[in-house]
């Protein structure tokens, strides 16, 4: 007779069991930055709405986005954007079944983090200096 109810199977070990690795961290960061960008889109839409609504609302938006807190949030948005973008490119490489070896995996993970931080700093140098 065929079994009709699912068998009781052991659960696979989860996060707290493993020693943190850079690949694990970049995977978690990819999801966190993705979720952050989901809500961060409101920053883009808010700015566009303000610009479309006229001079007064644009001035208000400029004051909010240009404040210290505003700049901090935008700095975080910039980092999330680049972290998620480079993480996505890493996934594209894996989609071709390349770069899955242990050493390459670690190099790609570090490249994602360092690249995202470098691009964020570069953009903000352009913002503050340019």
């Amino acid at each position: 007779m065929a079994r009709t109810s699912p068998a009781e199977r052991p659960l696979s070990p989860h996060l707290q069991i493993y020693k943190p690795t850079i690949t694990m961290m970049m995977s978690i960061l990819h999801r966190i930055t993705g979720a952050a960008l989901f809500f961060g889109t409101l920053l883009v839409v808010g700015f566009l709405l303000a610009l479309a609504s006229g001079k007064a609302s644009f001035a208000t938006a400029q004051a909010i986005y240009g404040s210290a807190l505003g700049k901090l949030v935008l700095f975080g948005y910039t980092y999330a954007l680049f972290q998620h973008m480079l993480g996505g490119i890493r996934h594209f490489i894996w989609d071709t079944a390349a770069g899955l070896e242990r050493e390459t995996r670690f190099k790609l993970a570090w490249a994602t983090l360092i690249g995202a931080l470098a691009l964020t700093v570069l953009v903000w140098i352009c913002v503050l200096v340019g």
Partner: protein
């Protein structure tokens, strides 16, 4: 979830055609296609924003109102809206196990993505046609 306790459906029948995701590779593929368009359009978006922060109101209207910038911004916001809906859907499906709560959140996710896309598109078009 309810289906797994149905004694008249064998595990094979349950998995065949449907599986846990209840869809094929459409979700995966669209997330990859929009990831590619997002990556390309992000470059344009960053350049436009860097130009934007140096301008006043009139300059910003002129900049976003330019057809090339307007079209690139439209593509960026719409591509992002589709991609973020797919991504948030996976997050909800991963962490929310109550069926009712999950269905409500998945609907809200869709509403949010469409609202974001429409609000961005309307604003850009209004700026573009007024400029």
């Amino acid at each position: 979830m309810a289906k797994s306790t149905n004694p008249f459906v064998t595990p094979t029948a349950r998995v065949r055609g449907l599986g846990a995701a209840k869809s094929g590779t459409g979700h995966f593929w669209l997330s990859r296609v929009t990831a590619l368009s997002n990556a390309i359009l992000t470059v344009a978006f960053v350049i436009i924003v860097l130009k934007l922060i140096k301008t006043d109101y009139a300059g910003a209207i002129k900049l976003i109102g330019h057809p090339v910038a307007a079209i690139l911004m439209l593509l960026f916001t719409l591509s992002a809206a589709v991609h973020m809906r797919l991504g948030m859907q996976v997050i909800i499906e991963d962490y929310i196990h109550s069926e009712g709560k999950k269905v409500v959140l998945l609907a809200l996710n869709t509403f949010f993505a469409i609202a974001v896309g429409v609000a961005a598109a309307y604003s850009i078009l209004k700026i573009g046609f007024a400029a």
